[in-house]
């Protein structure tokens, strides 16, 4: 296959919008290609999108579906052609996940939280998701064996346990959620921060995080620890974020990458002492990332409308349920974890929600190096992934942000710096934040770039970067991003102008 004349963005290989041909051979990028020729003259061409943090498979995702027939009926698409029927908006069925990511030009997605003991379920669902290559991060942050190794300061044994856990769970990397909190939740309480002792285990969250980070580097894993902070979702929690990041700054990475990846930073960049004086602390967080190189983040951008919150941070979900008086599922997992699921609606007119919306954008725009920031919505916590084009266009267009802000709560400008930010991301930066950086942060050598031998995952959009001004033409850009002109997965055209043409099974990466 030859893709002719596209305007190619491959920042990992130093290509920033050059007109060039791309060649594919046997599912991989190659020097030469033959056979099918795809005419991409003047069109935006990027590597297939990589989502490093999404909730797409496993017990809590399916619990979301089971408790939300109201959501399932929102996304009905009848079976047709190669497609099996689709349902759901915030909690789409497996088929919808594959097709909808592929339509947007995404070809890889990672499930962000799987307990070892329930990994079989996660993999049953991952196998059922068509097209995408997938992986699952394995939860270790509030696990009995982990806490005992940490308490005994036996990092060697901890590393052995982590290695066993990843192999048993067919996991890709080490996920830590509200360290110690799951154990406390076993008897209905929570830890108050990284230095709060975990009941019955004589360790702290800080010790768990550092121990797992050391074990992670001892094992030279492709990905760093992937961390969901304590106190997530609470006013004033930016101090917890900074305090936790400081713990890790002296750990030496075993590979050319970060030491810690922070999940959905938006939910941990909160100021204020309560929801009443709630405000953005994104500038402080962005400053920290600008002056330190051991950490990366994904946004967890929030958008207005429906979401379903789901996390291994079970006490947080109980809080959400009491706050919204919405339905609540909880699932404690013996020896390991706990989790919760609560449907949510974010309102434009609610100041707290508007501030949360602004924080995600601020983080992306104030952090100077796009290699440190991934565009995500923490699907489906901040918003379903189907809304990525909305997030990308907000990042690329100041006029769009201004127009949106004008519809929001009048107090918003006092609680966020967003209105004063002029920066508009360009295609190189978007290609980094949605392709190159997630692949590099995860340690996926064959993803997120077009170097020879890389997986031939390619997205071609009906957009002419040399003619279209995303700042002004954001509506056009959003439409084009929602349905790629071509999505190519491992050298096969899987989607064309929003229509799924082929639905090969993807691989599970581990």
């Amino acid at each position: 296959m030859i893709i002719k004349g596209g305007i190619v963005y491959d920042p990992a290989n130093g290509i920033f919008g050059e007109e060039m041909d791309l060649c594919v051979d046997e599912g991989r990028m190659a020097e030469d290609g033959k056979g099918e020729v795809i005419d991409a003259r003047g069109l935006l061409v990027m590597p297939g999108g990589v989502d490093a943090h999404s909730h797409i498979a496993g017990t809590k995702v399916n619990t979301g579906r089971i408790m939300r027939p109201d959501d399932a009926r929102l996304g009905i698409e009848p079976r047709s052609g190669v497609c099996r029927p689709c349902t759901g908006y915030t909690v789409p069925n497996c088929y919808a996940i594959g097709y909808r990511y592929a339509r947007m030009g995404y070809t890889t997605a990672f499930e962000a939280a799987t307990p070892i003991i329930e990994a079989r379920h996660t993999h049953e669902e991952l196998e059922e998701i068509p097209i995408l290559d997938k992986g699952a991060l394995t939860l270790f942050g509030t696990n009995w064996e982990v806490m005992e190794c940490v308490r005994d300061k036996d990092i060697g044994k901890l590393a052995a346990y982590v290695a066993w856990g990843l192999r048993s769970a067919r996991g890709y990397g080490v996920k830590i959620v509200n360290p110690g909190g799951g154990e406390a939740w076993g008897f209905g309480s929570n830890v108050k921060g990284p230095n709060d002792p975990v009941p019955n285990f004589d360790v702290t969250g800080a010790e768990i995080i550092c121990g797992l980070a050391q074990a992670n580097e001892m094992l030279r894993l492709p990905h760093s620890i992937h961390l969901h902070f304590n106190n997530l979702g609470k006013p004033g929690n930016y101090t917890t974020a900074l305090e936790t990041l400081e713990l890790l700054k002296d750990i030496k990475p075993s590979r050319m990458r970060q030491v810690v990846h922070v999940a959905h930073m938006q939910f941990s960049a909160y100021g204020g002492t309560s929801w009443r004086d709630f405000e953005s602390k994104a500038p402080v967080i962005a400053d920290y990332f600008n002056s330190h190189n051991h950490a990366t983040m994904d946004l967890g951008q929030l958008l207005f409308g429906s979401a379903t919150t789901m996390t291994a941070d079970a006490p947080l979900e109980y809080g959400n349920a009491r706050l919204t008086h919405n339905k609540w599922s909880n699932h404690d997992i013996e020896l390991e974890e706990s989790s919760g699921v609560v449907p949510m609606v974010y309102f434009r007119k609610m100041l707290v929600n508007a501030v949360q919306w602004a924080i995600g954008l601020e983080l992306a725009l104030l952090t100077r190096d796009p290699w440190k920031v991934l565009m995500t919505t923490d699907h489906p916590n901040g918003s379903p992934f189907i809304n990525y084009p909305e997030v990308i266009t907000l990042l690329m267009s100041k006029p769009k942000r201004d127009a949106e802000m004008a519809t929001l709560h009048e107090q918003l400008p006092k609680r966020t710096s967003l209105g004063g930010i002029e920066r508009e991301l360009d295609w190189t930066e978007i290609a980094i934040m949605t392709r190159a950086a997630p692949a590099r942060i995860l340690g996926l050598e064959d993803k997120g770039h077009f170097g020879p031998g890389a997986d031939a995952d390619i997205s071609i959009y009906d957009l002419r970067p040399e003619e279209v001004d995303p700042s002004r033409d954001h509506a056009l850009v959003k439409k084009a991003l929602a349905a790629a002109k071509y999505t190519i997965k491992s050298g096969i055209v899987v989607s064309q102008k929003g229509q799924i043409l082929a639905a090969p099974p993807g691989r599970t990466l581990r």
């Binding site: 408790m67 939300r68 027939p69 109201d70 959501d71 009926r73």
Partner: protein, 256 residues
């Protein structure tokens, strides 16, 4: 005015999904276009004329000027008048499940019985039933927070269980008895039951339920004063206190 009469050609062995039988769908179409509308029976997509005779005035017409008369038995035709915004649908017999689903305006009148989920998630307009209504009258869809949000439903006979479940507005009037759990999770609608019922207003937070017959009242309702309504004495209750509800429940004195 434009009147269209629809008559089933024969009894349906498998139920028909008739959401296209609505003034909104018919208004812009000619009779022959109406006859060739597609309609599902089980897994078979058919033409309306394969299953029904459609006669009357040729179109188009404004929605509010359309009257659809349903002649014969429509009890196995589901979703009639779904989402209608204006005009009239007059059933001379009964209607199947989900008639008047998500209705927003106009009038649906039924001379005989209506099956389950009549007026589900209704937002406006009026539904009248001479006979009985099934379960989930004016209720919502599984897992949703809101059922009917507005409009009016009146039933001459009895209604089944779960009437007005998750009611968020509008009013339902049943002259006969109502099955178990009327007005469960009522959030602001009005229900009148002429006959008897069982456990009204479970988890009601707002709204009113009046029962002229007997009613078993939940232990989570606070007994209040006796009030006179249109010359009759009613025991007033407030609840459902399990949800810190301020809904009002009136049960006629002497009937319980």
């Amino acid at each position: 005015m434009r009147t269209i009469t629809i008559t089933p050609l024969k009894a349906f062995e498998i139920s028909v999904e008739a959401e296209i039988i609505s003034p909104d769908k018919f208004a812009p179409l000619s009779l022959s276009q109406i006859r060739s509308l597609s309609i599902w029976q089980g897994n078979r997509k058919r033409k309306l004329s394969d299953l029904f005779r459609a006669e009357g005035d040729d179109g188009p017409a404004k929605v509010e000027d359309v009257t659809i008369t349903l002649q014969g038995d429509f009890s196995r035709a589901k979703r009639i008048a779904e989402g209608m915004t204006a005009g009239k649908v007059e059933a001379e017999g009964g209607v199947g499940m989900h008639a008047g689903n998500n209705m927003k305006g106009g009038l649906l009148s039924v001379q005989k019985d209506a099956e389950d989920w009549l007026g589900r998630e209704m937002r406006g307009g009026k539904i009248t039933v001479r006979g009985n209504a099934g379960n989930y009258l004016g209720a919502g869809y599984r897992g949703e927070k809101c059922g009917m949000r507005g409009g009016e439903i009146e039933v001459g006979g009895n209604a089944g269980a779960y009437l007005g479940e998750h009611l968020c507005g509008g009013s339902i009037r049943v002259h006969g008895d109502a099955g178990d759990f009327p007005g469960a999770a009522n959030q602001g609608g009005t229900i009148f039951i002429g006959g008897s019922t069982y456990l009204p207003g479970a988890e009601m937070t707002k709204g009113t339920i009046t029962v002229r017959g007997r009613a078993r009242v939940l232990p989570s309702y606070q007994k209040m004063e006796i009030m006179s309504i249109e010359g009759e004495d009613f025991q007033k209750y407030v609840g459902d206190l399990v949800e810190k509800g301020t809904g009002e429940l009136f049960v006629r004195v002497g009937s319980s």
